[in-house]
Symmetry: C2
């Protein structure tokens, strides 16, 4: 029971004399001062970090540099006494057998911290910080990573998507087994759609974020990141978004990048697949208390087997985005001048119409004029669910005659990204029209809309 | 088995010699030609119409004017031989005890017909046509009604809402027990919100529509209209939307006018209450085959008892809408010029931001300038579900400093309508800000947003 205080030497890891199950207090010196953690030592077979379970029930991983460790109480009996980090050579051998995941960090809540002076959350974590907070990732894979951006996702622009696609492609060509992208949740759906069109990937490309920052007890960041890493090592070689599937910590959904939408401002299960089933569920074994990353506690259940498998295609990059595109939402009383503004300035315009894809009759002549000038106009619905069908009502038929392209069952946001991508590839309007109406990355089910109303 | 052909005299009802359970063929002359219906005669105790069950399983009511009736086969035995319309005097006495509903028709699918030449659907039914198609309405109430508009709802404008509010108010002052408004589904949510702000009603004001036109076997128009009439005779003295609650014909939901949104382009259960429970369910007894409008087969189950009761307030009309308001949806890459366009031309702008209520940093100085000029800018979220909270992230705090008004958990569409209404009432920006942040018609739950993220 007597405490043993050890001073770890700067920038050098030594095996402290404590083991699994012991209660320890860790003082860690950082640039900002000393932080103290207290909890029970957890197994961390593949991690170089010290992992302790805090009294809050959450695990934290601490790099063994610049730490002072005090053993508060030993685990009962002899078991659990095996010192951690004693079998470093064996670990190294096993690491070679693990897959390699590259984590590209772009910012957002999963990589952000609360400023305790102001209470505000700002993006500031690096990939290394993520690893420190979530040491379980290293049990799943050899983790590499780098910071691509450090921005809040509302500041992402099409130019950012293009560079990000190139960075992901480079990682794939370099031979990593999966890519994980940490991203702010606000525009994660847009970025996922953009990468889906620009990349034909041979390995999983997984976007992940967090609705509650890592500093809060209710944070979803660790579970989302662990589930995302699991998917990054799977055979789902598509661009996906992996986020909480329920308000409990029991599973994540794997959403196809072109079908996913943030549907709640703050809930953990904010992300939903629209007009499609999620591709899979990642079951997360929270019943055992501490998350475990192997066996039945972390497993993927496929919900839609119609996905691209690992290695099925050669990786391909088609990174181009025409940024002179816009999304316009129709509302009652919206003057034709509103639409005119967009049609005069942009090469492509996606309209979020009402119902099956309608706007007021006053808008239709403006569309006709613009289409004749070569502007591409795509119709989607603010209903979000269901399929646009302009063949049913007079208004829709007039819109088709004016040259509107039906967006099928595409999300308005996905249609915008696809239009940017199509116009980035070609200026041939007929070709763009064909691309919009062809399923490229699971964004569109190619059915006629008649069956929806002809029953 | 011998057919009896009878020629009914123009504009005069005579009792044909057939009864409940007989199979008859009805030829009806209309202005456009002769329509033939065949089916089994159904009981229609309170209706002057002939009601037959078609082979499709749907009932149709036919006014007895201008019809030729042929009896195809008689019902078995003596039962069911009682001639319909024999007890006219008794009926008249009972009608005086029934409540009176006024049906105001504005157009839309519930009042539309397929043009069989083109396959397109156009709005063309009058209130009388609705009654003819759905005779059960007359079992629930004495039905009066008139056509206010005959337009597709995508052509509704704030001016239409104002006139409609006045017409509804006139009906209430005239002493009707409930008002039913048939409306196209596309913008029904917007109109419902508009009426909610403009009218403090002492009786139910129910908007109802149809996702499939009355001519199609799968039409939802009859059930929706019957449920809506039931609500119009209830004690729920609010502006509500009554539509299918599931894809089956088992119940309708009663949605509060400020919380409802069309969430599917074509499904029957397209309408959903967002960030609130529906006020009630109307159970519809479809198990017995033919819908019955009395007893347990048609009953209201209250889901949220916090609603305004019949007669609780004196009716009040505050019919004004400032149409120089706009709704702008943010998307990645949206240039500041987009927002500038709206801020320069409109008195009030609702932004549909991302997540908790964000836009790109480039937009924020534009907002600040505009607010300083007196433009009112309200922030809502394209997530739809959840509450805007601009106190959590740097971007949000910058937006608040720029003068953005948080829209709470209001739908973006409802926030637009409310802003039009508030600016219609006053030019005092502080007063408008106060109205936006005060719950007027159940559109806003007045909580601080901190609790969402502070756990």
């Amino acid at each position: 029971m007597s405490g043993v205080i050890r001073q770890a030497e700067e920038n050098r890891s030594r095996s402290p004399q404590f083991g699994e199950g012991d209660r320890i207090r860790v003082k860690k010196r950082t640039r900002k001062g000393v932080v103290v953690y207290e909890g029970i030592v957890m197994p961390a077979a593949f991690s170089k970090n010290i992992v302790i379970k805090l009294d809050s029930g959450y695990n934290i991983g601490i790099r063994p540099e610049n730490v002072e460790i005090e053993v508060i109480s030993k685990a009962g009996g002899e078991k659990g006494r095996t010192p951690l980090h004693a079998e470093t050579r064996k670990e190294k051998a096993m690491e070679r057998e693990k897959p390699t995941i590259s984590i590209l960090s772009t910012g957002g809540t999963i990589a952000s911290k609360v400023d305790y002076r102001t209470g505000a959350v700002t993006a500031q974590f690096t990939t290394e910080d993520i690893l420190e907070a979530i040491p379980e990732l290293e049990e799943l894979a050899n983790i590499e990573g780098r910071v691509i951006y450090s921005i809040l996702s509302e500041n992402m622009r099409p130019e950012h998507w293009v560079r990000l696609a190139k960075e992901v492609y480079d990682e794939i060509k370099r031979g990593v087994d999966g890519v994980m992208i940490t991203h702010g949740t606000d525009t994660m759906g847009y970025t996922a759609a953009a990468l889906s069109f620009m990349l034909r990937s041979s390995v999983p490309v997984v976007l992940v974020g967090s609705q509650r920052s890592a500093d809060r007890p209710s944070s979803d960041s660790a579970m989302n990141a662990i589930c995302a890493a699991k998917v990054a090592t799977s055979d789902i070689a598509e661009v996906t978004v992996v986020m909480h599937g329920s308000t409990s910590d029991d599973f994540c959904y794997v959403h196809r990048g072109t079908r996913v939408r943030k549907m709640h401002t703050s809930a953990r299960d904010a992300f939903r697949s629209i007009n499609a089933s999620p591709l899979a569920k990642v079951h997360y074994g929270s019943k055992s208390g501490a998350p475990r990353v192997s066996g039945e506690d972390l497993r993927i259940e496929i919900l839609d087997a119609n996905y691209r498998r690992r290695g099925e295609v050669e990786p391909e990059l088609r990174a181009h985005m025409e940024k002179r595109c816009a999304l316009v939402k129709f509302y009652p009383g919206a003057e034709p001048e509103v639409l005119e503004f967009f049609l005069e300035r942009y090469k492509g315009v996606v309209i979020e119409g009402t119902g099956l894809g309608h706007v007021s009759s006053e808008w239709i002549p403006k569309i006709k004029e613009a289409v004749e000038r070569g502007v591409v106009v795509v119709m989607t619905s603010q209903c979000l669910y269901g399929r646009v069908c302009d063949r049913v009502y007079d208004t829709g038929r007039d819109l088709l005659r004016a040259g509107v392209i039906e967006g099928g069952d595409m999300l308005p946001e996905t249609a915008l990204v696809k239009l940017m991508w199509a116009l980035g590839a070609t200026n041939d309007v007929e070709e763009v029209k064909k691309i919009i109406q062809t399923n490229i990355a699971g964004e569109l089910s190619e059915r006629t809309c008649i069956i929806l109303t002809g029953d």
